[in-house]
């Protein structure tokens, strides 16, 4: 049987199809003003028997496909175990949410924490900050990694931090050092959530921000725990949704 999961996130829509325990299809695209159309386009010719929806657009899809829905938190909990069969602590930094999740030994959801209702310290925050510094996302992460020291950024609010960055660069602060400061700010905020729930051992790092090496390196250093990033960190929620179709 082919099981599918669709994760309608704030920035991207992801589709995963599994067969016999193997991920056989993985797609993603940017979310538009019409997430339903985007999701339908993404599903396109994909062949599957059952599908489960997750992500902030899950209820919208449910109205059209009449499919089951699960929360992103449960989806990440299940999906993480697909990539790392014994993981207990999960950090997901997506477009507008940060989630820290812990699992019990059997992989059941134990505790979770989420960021407040704004996008402070999420993927969207990094995007805006990179743009403010004139970097692409890739350059931004590299700049952070190469900086010798960091300029302290006090705010993880996207709006406040942007004006903070503008005034820092106006004062002549080095761009790389500001970049590192921004990465540190997002990591320290994520750790605030993670420390409330994490258990010792490896941290499974998912969501689009997990592609960012600078965040991963800082996270490992600050938590003092190894951090594992799966090959496709963005698909974890969709895989988890697919697995819950069973």
């Amino acid at each position: 049987m082919r099981i599918a999961g669709i994760d309608i996130g704030s920035r991207t829509v992801k589709l995963a199809v599994l067969e016999d325990g193997q991920l056989i299809l993985s797609r993603n695209t940017m979310t538009s003003y019409n997430p339903l159309a985007t999701a339908q386009e993404l599903m396109g010719d994909a062949v599957f028997d059952v599908i489960t929806a997750t992500g902030y657009g899950r209820h919208l899809i449910k109205g059209h496909l009449d499919c089951p829905v699960i929360s992103e938190i449960t989806a990440f909990a299940r999906g993480a175990r697909f990539f790392s069969s014994d993981c207990r602590s999960i950090l997901d930094i997506g477009g507008q949410d940060t989630k820290a999740i812990s699992l019990d030994q059997e992989g059941n959801l134990r505790k979770f924490e989420m960021n407040d209702k704004c996008a402070a310290g999420t993927g969207r925050f990094l995007e805006v900050m990179a743009t403010a510094l004139g970097f692409t996302i890739e350059e931004f992460s590299k700049a952070g990694l190469s900086a010798g020291k960091a300029v302290k950024i006090n705010s993880t609010c996207t709006v406040f931090a942007e004006s903070e960055v503008v005034s820092l660069t106006a004062q002549g602060a080095a761009r790389d050092e500001v970049a590192l400061g921004i990465h540190k700010a997002i990591v320290s905020r994520s750790i605030g959530l993670l420390k409330k729930v994490a258990v010792p051992g490896e941290i499974f790092f998912a969501g689009g921000v997990a592609y960012n090496d600078c965040v991963r390196v800082l996270l490992e250093k600050e938590m003092g725990q190894p951090v594992f990033v799966p090959s496709d960190p963005q698909i974890v929620g969709a895989v988890g949704a697919a697995l819950s179709s069973l």
């Binding site: 902030y56 699960i70 929360s71 992103e72 938190i73 449960t74 949410d97 059941n108 959801l109 134990r110 505790k111 979770f112 989420m114 407040d116 209702k117």
Partner: protein, 426 residues
């Protein structure tokens, strides 16, 4: 609803704002309450009360006033209704549950004030709470710092603001202090009403309020059944109407509802399927029309089976010992009753979490959702240790912090659904 325009104008309400409020309230009520499935017949009475909450009930208050009975408005379960009834007064809860005119409230209060306080000011400044306008005395009580300081600002806006001080520790001195505050309140009531409190009138007040609380306690106990015979939303509504309605009529209606619910339990009839995930809500009070959280929970494959809240168990849990004796004896009994309330303003407050555990067990709740109003320090600070203690006792707990706005509904829904999914696995 009949035309109450004349009465509302005479009370000094802003008719335009008030009509807007009623129309929002009416449509929210339809969406949230009337759309529920398998509602008990007995809820029709409460639907009627809600449809007339600013109409017929206010007319009754005006009639009471015409008979020289005083109307006493309050915001807290520490204000003893027994004493108000003992001077033949009418006790009403005041509007503080809706995001109405927060712009106006923020002109006189800091933005970082809890929604309940802001709402009380929004209603006052917008002139849309007929209960407040009909009150001869408004009782403010020093529970939290936010309320305490804001009463200083409210004082010049209302006819007669009476501030009641409250102890913060459960010591002998605290108890004596509470008793003296209640004695001072009795004198105030006697002065305003021109009536003397006698052992007979006080005993009658105690008995009326005891019967009212006993009826709601009966309702609470019935909710232990699976399938749940009544939704959490409807049960919350009963607890909310508790503060507005005529106490004797209310008691009768709740008991009638309970008769029906007991019949339902006998026949295995419920509002949701058997084995639906059961949640206990604990924390801050939910004043009318604050239905946001219960609605989100009950639209996520779960049913609420209890409220450990002032609008709920904390308001009705204790009865006052009714005995023959002097006014002094009865005042002691009243003090003992109210001094038991385990509000988070007390420090330390260990009995609260113990009772949350007991409730979860009694009501067969699988998990607890702890609800704090943003900027409500007593409950937010207490929520950390409460969560820890409940999880330690193997009661899964989700802590939520929110206000009256709808902007975080999506984020709350995600957390609630994930929590329910966690409970379903068990």
């Amino acid at each position: 609803m009949a035309d109450y325009t004349k009465m509302w104008s005479e009370l000094g309400l802003d008719l335009e704002g008030h009509n807007a409020l009623l129309s929002i309230l009416g449509s929210a009520y339809g969406d949230i309450f009337l759309s529920q499935k398998n509602r008990p017949e007995g809820m029709k009475y409460f639907d009627f009360v809600m449809s007339e909450v600013h109409g017929l009930r206010i007319q009754e208050l005006m009639e009471a006033k015409a008979q020289r009975r005083i109307v006493v408005g309050s915001y807290c379960v520490f204000v003893p209704e027994e004493l108000i009834l003992a001077v033949d007064g009418v006790s009403v809860g005041l509007c503080a549950g809706a995001e109405f005119n927060f712009e106006g409230a923020e002109e006189v209060l800091p933005r970082n004030t809890c929604a309940l306080i802001k709402s009380a000011f929004g209603f006052k400044l917008g002139k849309v709470c007929p209960y407040l306008e009909a009150s001869d005395v408004v009782v403010g009580e020093n529970t939290c710092d936010g309320k305490k300081k804001s009463y200083e600002i409210l004082a010049p806006m209302v006819k007669d603001l009476y501030v009641m001080d409250l102890p913060q520790m459960k010591t002998d001195m605290g108890r004596t202090f509470l008793k003296e505050e209640y004695r001072r309140f009795m004198a105030k009531l006697e002065r305003v009403s021109g009536k003397k409190i006698t052992p007979e009138s006080l005993k009658m007040g105690i008995e009326i309020v005891n019967a009212k609380r006993a009826a709601v306690k009966r309702l609470a106990a019935i909710r232990a059944a699976d399938p749940a015979p009544i939704s959490g939303l409807d049960a919350l509504l009963v607890n909310q109407v508790f503060f507005y309605d005529d106490p004797v009529r209310f008691t009768h209606s709740v008991n009638q509802l309970c008769d029906e619910l007991e019949e339902r339990v006998k026949n295995g009839i419920g509002v949701s399927a058997p084995e639906t995930t059961r949640v206990l809500v604990s924390g801050c009070p939910m004043a009318v029309p604050n239905w946001k959280l219960p609605m989100l929970i009950e639209s996520s494959n779960a049913v609420i089976v209890g409220e450990e809240s002032c609008v709920g168990e904390r308001g009705v849990r204790w009865l006052t010992e009714s005995k023959d004796g002097t006014v002094e004896d009865l005042l002691d009994a009243i003090t003992a009753r109210y001094f038991s309330i385990d509000c988070a303003v007390f420090t330390p407050n260990p009995s609260r979490v113990e009772y949350v555990k007991e409730m979860a067990k009694k009501l067969n709740a699988q998990g607890v959702i702890h609800y704090s109003l943003q900027f409500c320090q007593p409950y937010i600070v207490e929520s950390g240790p409460v969560e820890k203690e409940l999880e330690h006792a193997s009661i899964p707990t989700l802590r939520l912090e929110t206000d009256y706005s709808q902007e975080d509904a999506g984020q709350l829904k995600t957390r609630i659904e994930a929590f329910i999914e966690r409970l379903e696995k068990k």
